[in-house]
Point group: C2
Chain length 340, copies 2
């Protein structure tokens, strides 16, 4: 079962927690400076080390050569947040080792040779960290990892030097948005050294009021401190969002019930739907669900919907080329199936 | 059972047919010149004649003294098209005799002493005429009606002199509207001497693409000619509308299915709804139904919805004073009940 079908702690606001660890191999230039041949060497080394001679991870992990994957399949992995857009774009000699429950992925030859990311449902950064760490320890035990006693792990970008770690949470913030408090909350997170992005990473819009909050300042801090820092502000944000939802509800309970009930009805009855509209409606239903204003749908189903309706995921599922209109029709069908 | 719960001929486009006959009593000024006392005399005379000494119509008809009726009850009768806005406004010494199936009403002291109107489901002007005529014959046999051998029935407004008749059909024209052909169709009806109005009479908007088409030129024409004339143009309009619907469907079948499916889902799931939105959505569902794009709902139910959701009808049903917001909530509930 996919990780996002589990309901984690505080999942009314925090959909998921994620930890990423960057590692690099000794004796190879960073990926941006690798030629094809060298990149292939790195890619194979990581795969061989990970799976080992006994292929001990085969049952649990998929070894994906991105160079061999069609465009839409790569983009579908991006939509599931299993690989970055950059890794998808420069597929050649890039690799992703992905756990079958989709909670862990190891990107090879992204900005660093190795980027391990682990996701956990709900608000649980420690669980995500433990998963990422266990993969890192395995690779560190089998590969010569670039590490300096003075600086820690060496990375392509100096901002990652040290732990090589980024932690993030995906937060659903419709309450703050409706209460007009979102901009203020985002600005104050920025001042505290946290980055806030839309749900598909760096350059994306915040469709469906989903925001990824991550620590930006990592230099000189240990893993535990980074997780504690992010955990603290995410906890504050969680409290603010819940308070805002309550205030919005108290101001206009019927309005909110109307909004979420209509949204669910549209998701279940449309014959075609853009992903932007779907995300907006899913957000409305999710909000209503957290306030017990809608029935007959679960957070898990909504999570599955969020992760299944990107253009590439829809395209991949259909198995044949489609234009935007056809994707909108397929998306509506997928939503019926998921949210019935 | 109310007349609009029957499905008449060509009801995909023509919801109802209506015939109105104006009659006046000899020896009384027209209503605009009547004082209270005289108006009461006329009002009582008509009622007594209609019901007769044996009260033979009591089981079938209600005798409504509009002066005694609360405002919202009068307006609810307007929304059901049983009385005119003018009659509702000047309730005092006005009367309406209304059949229990709501297909026939006799307005007393509107512009004329007596205005008989009869409605029939679908496209069936003859049926409506027969109903109105039978009431007119009854009253003519019992009351001294102003009639000139040269001019015919005498009426307050000279345009009604002769037959005292107006015939109309209520047409649903979403196809022409979506195909951009509505304005042209309305203009050409005007040139042929027919009036086109929104569904609640003279000054109303065409909510839900419902239009009332009536003959304007009546002088010198007999009843049969009037009905044949209107029947002919309504038949042409019916054919144009069906053709337009087919063209709209052929251009974008999924778009139309999407639109009507969403509309029905919203009507069934909203917690509050304005009457304007409801009329628009009902129109979308009605169009979808005529093209077999939606299931689980009937034309009869939609007709009932149209006639039940006006502000006054909602107000009257609740039985206590409400503001607009409260009416919107009640309207949503009423729609759930009707369209479930």
């Amino acid at each position: 079962m996919s990780w996002y079908m589990d309901k984690g702690p505080d999942s009314d606001v925090i959909l998921s927690s994620r930890v990423r660890l960057a590692r690099n191999l000794v004796g190879h230039p960073f990926p941006s400076r690798l030629d094809k041949e060298q990149a292939a060497v790195v890619s194979n080394k990581v795969s061989e080390s990970f799976f080992g001679e006994t292929r001990d991870h085969r049952a649990e992990y998929l070894d994906v050569d991105l160079g061999c994957l069609p465009d839409e399949d790569r983009m579908a992995l991006v939509e599931k947040r299993l690989i970055s857009e950059d890794l998808a774009r420069f597929g050649e000699c890039r690799r992703a080792i992905i756990s079958r429950d989709e909670s862990v992925s190891v990107m090879v030859n992204e900005e660093d040779h190795i980027r391990i990311q682990a996701m956990s449902p709900g608000f649980d950064l420690n669980a995500a960290y433990r998963k990422a760490e266990s993969v890192a320890l395995l690779l560190e035990s089998r590969l010569p990892i670039a590490y300096s006693g003075k600086y820690g792990f060496l990375t392509a970008c100096p901002t990652n030097v040290g732990t090589g770690m980024r932690a993030s949470v995906m937060a659903h913030l419709p309450g703050l948005a409706m209460a007009g408090l979102l901009r203020g909350a985002v600005e104050s997170l920025g001042k505290m050294g946290f980055a806030v992005r839309g749900n598909y990473g760096e350059h994306s819009q915040a469709a469906g009021h989903l925001f990824q909050i991550s620590n930006q300042i990592t230099l000189g801090l240990g893993e535990d401190e980074l997780i504690a820092d992010l955990g603290r502000v995410a906890g504050q944000l969680l409290a603010q969002e819940r308070k805002a939802r309550k205030a919005v509800y108290d101001t206009d309970p019927i309005g909110l019930e109307d909004r979420s009930g209509r949204a669910l009805a549209l998701l279940r009855s449309a014959r075609r739907m853009s992903s932007a509209e779907a995300m907006t409606l899913i957000s409305d239903v999710r909000l209503g669900l957290s306030l017990q204003l809608v029935e007959g749908v679960t957070e898990e189903a909504l999570n599955r919907a969020i992760i299944s309706i990107g253009p590439a995921s829809i395209q991949k599922n259909a198995g044949h080329p489609m234009n935007e209109f056809e994707r909108d029709v397929e998306r509506a069908k997928a939503l019926h199936t998921i949210l019935i």
